[in-house]
C-alpha cells in the first residue's frame, strides 16, 4: 500500500471530526492533553490574579483594599488552585500529551478513562471557582487544618465545596496516573527496553506511582472531613475520641510527596531540554533514573517535617530531620548530571535552556532554605512566617514552573507546528527571573523579621512596609512576564515560523512525526534500537509492519524488554466518559447538600458506567 494511502486510511480511522459531537466524544490523547494544558493555564491565570490581589493588599501597611474575609478566600483559592488545579494537572497533562508520542504508540492506555479524567478535573475546578464567585469560596487555607475547617469553626458550605473539589481532582489525577503507568509499561515501541526510556517518561512513571501511593491519603482525609461536617462523624473531634492531628498526618502524608509529584516531571523536562540543547546524550542516565526513583521513595519519609511545631517526640523529629536532609543527595546528583551534560556538550542557549539555568539558581536556593527548615530549632523560630512562604515558592516555582516554562518553549513547535519568538522568549525569561526574585527573596528577610504568613494586613510600626512594597512590585513584574508568554504564544500560533518535524534536531521519538502530530501519531510504529533513536538512525527509521490501518490497533509489549506481544484494540470515541463525568459531578455536588445523593447519585453513575462498558456492536467488539 502506498504511503499516501496508508496515511489517508489511518487518518480516517483515528481522526477526530470538527463537529461538536466529535469534540465531546474524542479520545485522542493529544486533544485531551491540549485541553488539559490550556485548562491548567486558565486556572494558573485565576490563581495568579488572586495572588496579585493579595500583593496589592499587602503592598502597604493597614491597607483597606481587601477585607479579611475576602483575603482568606483569596489565599485559600490561590493555594488550592495552584496545587490541585494547576501544578499537578499541568504536569500530568504534559504526560498525557507527550508520553504516548515519546514511547512511539498511537494513543494512551485507557483513552476513554483519559477523557473522563479531563471532564472530572474541569467540572471539579469550575465547581470551586463558581462557589468563590457566589461568595461560598473556600476560606480555611489550602491545607484546611481542622478544627478551623471543621463544622464548629467553618459553618456553611465553603469547606464542603473545597473537600468535594479535592476528591474530584484526585479521582482525575489517579486515573491519569494509572493510564501513564500502563502506557509506559505496556505500550512502548518494540525494542524500547527499560534502559532506553526517555528521562521525561521515567519521571512521569515515578510520579504516577507516587500519585497512586500518596493521593489516597488526601482523598481519605477530605472524605473524613466532609463526613464530620455533613453526617456528624467524629474523626477530628477530640471531645469524642477524634484527633485534629490526624488531619495533619493524612494531609502531609500526601502533601509532601505532592511537592515531588510536581517537581519530578519538571526534572524530566529539564533532562530533555538539557540533552536537546547540549546536543549530546544525558551524562549519567542511570544515575538520573536512580535519583528519580530514590527521590520518589524518600519523599514519603518527610511529611512530619511539616509538623515539627506540633509537639512530636524527640526521636520522631530527629528521624524526619535526617530524612528531610537526605533527599538533598539525589536532588544534588541530578543537578551535577545536568551540569556535566552541559559541560561536555555544545550548549545552545536558546529560551528553553535559559529557563533551565534559571531553575538551577532558584531551585538550589530553595533547597538550601529547605535544609534550614528541616532543622527543628530553626523551624520552631520560622514556623508560619514569611520565610516558609519564600522557601516553598522558591522550590515550587523554581523547581517546577521554570522548567515548565522552558518545556513550553521546547515542545510548543511539536504541539502547534509553529515556532515561538526567541526574542520575546528572552524577554519573558528576563522578566520572570527578575520579577520572581524581587517578589520572593525579600520574603526570607520579612520572615526573619517575624512577619507571619496568612495575615491580611500589618501595622506601620513593624517596619515591614518597604520590603512588602518591593515584593508586590516583583509580583507584578512576574505576572507581567506571563502576559509576554501569552502574547508570544498567540502570535506564534497565528504567524509563527513553521516548525517542521524536528526543529531542534532532537533524538527522541516525538520528533519522528509531524508537527503537530497526525491523529494516528506515527504512520508506522517505530522499532527502537538506541536511547536516542533519531540520533542513532539518521538514514532510515526501523519500523513495525502488519498493524491494521482500518482498526484502532496499538502494539502491546512486554514490560521490561518491550517485546511485541499483542495487537490491542484502542477504544473508539464515546460520549459515555462525558456523561459519566456529569453524573459523578451531580452526585458529588448533591452530596454537599444531602447524604442521600450518595445513593441516588451512585445509581446514575452506575447507569453511565454501564453505558460506557457495554459494547456497541462496533468493529472493536466483532473482532
Amino acid at each position: 500500500m502506498a504511503d499516501a494511502e496508508v496515511r489517508r486510511r489511518l487518518a480516517a480511522t483515528w481522526g477526530t471530526g470538527a463537529g461538536l459531537w466529535d469534540r465531546l466524544t474524542t479520545v485522542d490523547h493529544k486533544i485531551v492533553g491540549r485541553r488539559y494544558i490550556l485548562t491548567a493555564f486558565l486556572f494558573l491565570g485565576l490563581a495568579g490574579l488572586s495572588a496579585v490581589a493579595m500583593r496589592l493588599q499587602l503592598a502597604r501597611p493597614e491597607s483597606r483594599l481587601i477585607g479579611p474575609d475576602l483575603y482568606n478566600q483569596l489565599f485559600t483559592m490561590h493555594g488550592t488552585t495552584m496545587m490541585f488545579l494547576f501544578a499537578v494537572p499541568v504536569m500530568e497533562a504534559f504526560g498525557v500529551y507527550l508520553v504516548p508520542l515519546m514511547l512511539g504508540t498511537r494513543n494512551i492506555a485507557f483513552p476513554r478513562l483519559n477523557a473522563f479524567s479531563y471532564w472530572v478535573y474541569l467540572f471539579g475546578g469550575l465547581m470551586i471557582w463558581f462557589a468563590f464567585m457566589l461568595n461560598v469560596g473556600a476560606d480555611a487555607g489550602w491545607f484546611a487544618y481542622v478544627p478551623l475547617a471543621g463544622p464548629e469553626y467553618s459553618p456553611g458550605k465553603r469547606v464542603d465545596f473545597w473537600a468535594q473539589m479535592i476528591t474530584f481532582t484526585e479521582v482525575s489525577a489517579q486515573a491519569v496516573a494509572v493510564e501513564i503507568i500502563v502506557t509506559t509499561l505496556k505500550q512502548r515501541a518494540p525494542g524500547m527496553s527499560l534502559d532506553r526510556i526517555p528521562l521525561f517518561v521515567w519521571s512521569m512513571l515515578v510520579t504516577s506511582v507516587m500519585i497512586c501511593l500518596a493521593m489516597p491519603a488526601v482523598m481519605l482525609a477530605s472524605t473524613f472531613l466532609i463526613m464530620d461536617r455533613l453526617i456528624g462523624t467524629q474523626f477530628f473531634n477530640p471531645a469524642e475520641g477524634g484527633q485534629p492531628l490526624l488531619w495533619q498526618h493524612l494531609f502531609w502524608f500526601f502533601g509532601h510527596p505532592e511537592v515531588y509529584i510536581i517537581f519530578l516531571p519538571a526534572t524530566g523536562m529539564v533532562s530533555q531540554i538539557v540533552v536537546a540543547f547540549s546536543r549530546r546524550p544525558a551524562f549519567g542516565y542511570l544515575a538520573l533514573v536512580l535519583a528519580l526513583v530514590s527521590v520518589g521513595f524518600l519523599s514519603f519519609g518527610l511529611w512530619v517535617h511539616h509538623m515539627f511545631a506540633t509537639g512530636l517526640p524527640q526521636l520522631g523529629a530527629s528521624f524526619f530531620t535526617a530524612s528531610s536532609m537526605l533527599i538533598g543527595i539525589p536532588n544534588g546528583l541530578q543537578i551535577f548530571c545536568w551540569i556535566a551534560t552541559l559541560w561536555t556538550g555544545r550548549p545552545v542557549f536558546a529560551t528553553p535552556l535559559l529557563f533551565v539555568l534559571g531553575f538551577f539558581f532558584i531551585f538550589v536556593a530553595g533547597g538550601l532554605s529547605g535544609l534550614m527548615l528541616a532543622s527543628v530549632p530553626l523551624d520552631f523560630q520560622l514556623h508560619d512566617s514569611y520565610f516558609v512562604v519564600a522557601h516553598f515558592h522558591y522550590v515550587l516555582i523554581g523547581g517546577a514552573v521554570f522548567p515548565l516554562l522552558g518545556a513550553i518553549y521546547y515542545w510548543f513547535p511539536k504541539i502547534t507546528g509553529r515556532m515561538m519568538s526567541e526574542r520575546a522568549g528572552r524577554w519573558h525569561f528576563a522578566l520572570a527571573f527578575l520579577g520572581f526574585n524581587l517578589a520572593f527573596f525579600p520574603m526570607h528577610v520579612l520572615g526573619l523579621q517575624g512577619m507571619p504568613r496568612r495575615v491580611y494586613t500589618y501595622l506601620p510600626e513593624t517596619g515591614w512596609g518597604s520590603l512588602n512594597l518591593l515584593v508586590s512590585f516583583g509580583a507584578l513584574l512576574f505576572a507581567l512576564s506571563f502576559v509576554v508568554l501569552a502574547a508570544n504564544a498567540v502570535a506564534a500560533v497565528r504567524r509563527g515560523a513553521l516548525a517542521g518535524p524536528n526543529p531542534w534536531g532532537v533524538g527522541t521519538l516525538e520528533w519522528a512525526t509531524g508537527s503537530p502530530p497526525p491523529a494516528y501519531n506515527f504512520e508506522r510504529i517505530p522499532v527502537v534500537t538506541h536511547r536516542e533513536p533519531l540520533w542513532a538512525e539518521r538514514e532510515s527509521l526501523p519500523v513495525v509492519v502488519g498493524l491494521a490501518v482500518d482498526d484502532r490497533e496499538v502494539v502491546a509489549t512486554s514490560p521490561v524488554e518491550a517485546k511485541a506481544s499483542l495487537r490491542e484494540m484502542s477504544p473508539e470515541p464515546s460520549i459515555w466518559p462525558l456523561l459519566s463525568a456529569i453524573a459523578t459531578t451531580i452526585a458529588f455536588i448533591g452530596s454537599i447538600f444531602t447524604p442521600w445523593a450518595v445513593v441516588w447519585g451512585g445509581a446514575i453513575v452506575a447507569v453511565a458506567l454501564i453505558g460506557w462498558f457495554w459494547p456497541k456492536g462496533s468493529r472493536e467488539d466483532e473482532r
Binding site: G242, V527, V544
Partner: protein
C-alpha cells in the same frame, strides 16, 4: 525520514490474559491505589486507638456472627472465582456463564450479609471516633464488594449476548483477579476490626 520495516506483528493475537493484557495492569494499578486507601484507613484506626486510653471508646466490640460469616463466604468464593478465571482463559463459554452466575449470586448474598453486619456494630458512626472509623472501614470495603458485584452482573449479562466472545473472556479473567483483591483485603480488616477491640490493651 524513510522507514525500514524490520518487525512484522500481523501474527500477534488481539487480546491476552494476565500480565500480557494492558487491562490487567490497569486493574493492578487500581488495586495499588485502593490498597493504599485501606492501609491508611487501617492506620487511622490504629492511630485513634493509640491516642485514646480506652478502646473501643466505651462501646462493646462489634458482633462476630455476620462479620465472620462474610469472611467464610468470601474465602469460600475463592474457589468458584478460580474456576471462573480458569474457564474464561480456556474460552469455555458454557462454563464461564455458569461460573459468572455463581459469582453473581455469591456477591448478592455477600451484600445482604454485609448489611446485616452493619446492624451488629454496637455503635453509630456519629457516636464517637471509634464508631466513625469502624463504619468508614466497613463502608470502604462494602463499596468494593458492590462495585465488583456490579461489574460481575454486567459481565454475566454480556456473556449471555452476542458479545460473549474473544476479549470478553479476558475481561472475565481480570474481574476474577479483582475479586481476589476484594477477598484478600477483608482478611486483615476483619482481624483489625474484630481483634482490635478485643485484644487492644484497655479494650
Amino acid at each position: 525520514m524513510k522507514h525500514r520495516p524490520i518487525l512484522d506483528v500481523s501474527h500477534l493475537p488481539s487480546y491476552g490474559y494476565g500480565p500480557a493484557s494492558p487491562i490487567w495492569w490497569g486493574t493492578l494499578g487500581f488495586i495499588v491505589l485502593e490498597s493504599t486507601g485501606f492501609l491508611l484507613a487501617a492506620g487511622t484506626y490504629l492511630y485513634l486507638a493509640a491516642v485514646n486510653p480506652d478502646w473501643p471508646l466505651a462501646t462493646p466490640p462489634p458482633g462476630l456472627l455476620w462479620s465472620t460469616l462474610i469472611l467464610a463466604v468470601l474465602l469460600a468464593s475463592l474457589w468458584p472465582n478460580r474456576m471462573a478465571k480458569q474457564d474464561a482463559e480456556q474460552e469455555d463459554l458454557g462454563r464461564t456463564r455458569r461460573n459468572l452466575l455463581v459469582m453473581s449470586a455469591v456477591g448478592l448474598v455477600l451484600i445482604g450479609i454485609r448489611f446485616l453486619e452493619f446492624t451488629t456494630l454496637n455503635v453509630r458512626w456519629d457516636q464517637n471516633a471509634y464508631g466513625s472509623i469502624l463504619w468508614a472501614i466497613l463502608g470502604l470495603h462494602t463499596l468494593h464488594i458492590i462495585t465488583d458485584v456490579g461489574d460481575t452482573l454486567v459481565l454475566t449479562a454480556l456473556m449471555f449476548t452476542r458479545h460473549g466472545h474473544g476479549k470478553r473472556f479476558s475481561d472475565v479473567s481480570d474481574n476474577a483477579f479483582y475479586w481476589d483483591f476484594v477477598v484478600a483485603s477483608w482478611v486483615p480488616l476483619y482481624v483489625l476490626i474484630q481483634g482490635g477491640p478485643r485484644l487492644w490493651p484497655g479494650g
